[in-house]
């Protein structure tokens, strides 16, 4: 019998405590609100209300970006990818470290290493990318990177890249016409030889 009334009392008291908590939150909504009205307002990520400066964070995992002018075609990123979402095809350049005007190939990277290869295909399938960031570490020229964060000076942050067609998410970074341009160059090479 005592247990019966104790149970009733416990129910009432614990429920009152709970009601008090929710009431407190309801009246303090202006202070406690954590919602972000997403498309209208965006926090500079990942700073929320934790007092962290935008320039200090280590890396941002977002869309992959490639500076094709700096790529020397070493295939290290392709090998590092655990899901094989990077596909690179290279051809040997006629002369190492020289520009090829016809296809817009630049012979020397911004780190002033001379390129021996022409990248005719550099595709990244972002539908398959698992954002593990493993491809960016081995790159000797730091030309493959994830946008934003410390790389913001190279490319601003870009995390809203949804598309209507799945094939639009395959990014083709090689300059258009490189393949055909190289094919055209080849016979002239032979004639010279």
């Amino acid at each position: 019998m005592i247990k019966y009334f104790r149970d009733i009392w416990e129910s009432i008291s614990t429920m009152m405590t709970g009601l008090g908590i929710t009431w407190k939150h309801m009246v303090h909504i202006r202070r406690d609100n954590v919602t972000l009205q997403y498309p209208e307002e965006k926090w500079p990520r990942p700073e929320r209300n934790i007092g962290f400066d935008h320039s200090n964070y280590n890396v941002i995992r977002s869309r992959l970006q490639v500076d094709i002018d700096d790529c020397i075609g070493c295939l290290k990123c392709e090998r590092a990818c655990p899901v094989q979402c990077i596909k690179i095809v290279t051809e040997k350049a006629p002369t190492r470290g020289e520009d090829i005007q016809e296809i817009g190939h630049i012979g020397v990277t911004s780190n002033s290493s001379r390129k021996a290869m022409v990248v005719t295909r550099f595709d990244i399938d972002m539908t398959e990318c698992c954002y593990c960031n493993l491809c960016t570490y081995p790159c000797p020229e730091e030309c493959i990177f994830m946008t934003g964060g410390p790389n913001a000076h190279k490319h601003p942050i870009d995390y809203e890249f949804s598309e209507f067609d799945r094939s639009d998410l395959i990014y083709r970074f090689a300059k258009p016409g490189t393949k055909e341009g190289m094919d055209k160059l080849k016979p002239t090479e032979k004639v010279k030889a």
Binding site: L19, H25, M26, T35, E40
Partner: protein, 357 residues
Amino acid sequence: MTVDLLFSWLSSLTSTIEDSSILLLVAIIIPCVALFLVMAVNAIVMVYVERKVAAFMQDRVGPMGQGVGLHAGKWGLLQTVADALKLLTKEDIIPEKADKFLFILAPFVIFIGAFIAIVAVPFGETVIVADFNIGIFYILAMGSLGVIGIIIAGWSSNNKWSLYGGMRSAAQIVSYEIPAGLSIIVIIMLTGTLSMQGIIEYQSGGMGNWIIFANPFAFIAFLIYFISVIAETNRTPFDIPEAESELVGGFHTEYSGMRWSFFFLSEYANMLVVCAVAAAGFLGGWHSPIPGYFDSNGWGIFWMLSKIVFLIFIMMWFRWTFPRLRVDQLMNVCWKVFLPISLINIFGVGVWTLIFG
């Protein structure tokens, strides 16, 4: 605004029309349309309020928007309108193996149950469609009509989850009728009438005369009545018939679009009705808390509505704070706690009136 008043007013207006039966029909239809509008507006407003209350309690802001157009208007005011439009245009799916006749019938049964109960709800001194001499009894009886609809919905969906929901709901509503009814008896004992207006009239003259403050037993009766009707309207912590984490959606799992919104509409209409009974029966109805002030007819509607809204808010507050009971615990609470206490209550009120009354 009873039908009689409307009828006599109409006939005085149009003395040229011979056939009074048309006038009678018009006099009946006008309040019905008005009541339907009350129900619809109630649902639209209450859904919005519920979302906002829930959001604020959870440190969110709920539906928001910067303006009409892409978003749901300033402070999301148009959110429920948008929801209603979406529900209206949604595909109406009837499961192939469902009992089609009953499946279509069920939402209407529930809706009618809620709708005809409102008829006897007084919103003001004259604002009442039908002031029966058995008003409160009528509302209780009609309010429990909805359970038939829920059972029909649960059975006809031909879905095991819905069946569970329907069965649970039947057991629950039937059980909770009893403590709710026994608490109403306390009012009837004090006022000596079953008419809604009579009960409210009894409580005239300020807060002190409200039945809830009449004696401690009446206060307990109010609590029991309020908790029981939460169970009757299937709201947390007694929402086991629809328990989304257990039964997916309970009896309305298979419904979609407009049919589903009928369940929704009647849930909020039911809340309105039971809160109106609580406000009229315990909280002085359309009387102002301070005697003599703000007591005119217009203020009466205001007081009644604000009392109803206050009680509905408490229901929402409960919903966003508490977990859900299990089906057998629900029955335990009803039969082992509420029933004995409300029986003692009746006895107590009797003794109290004998000594102090």
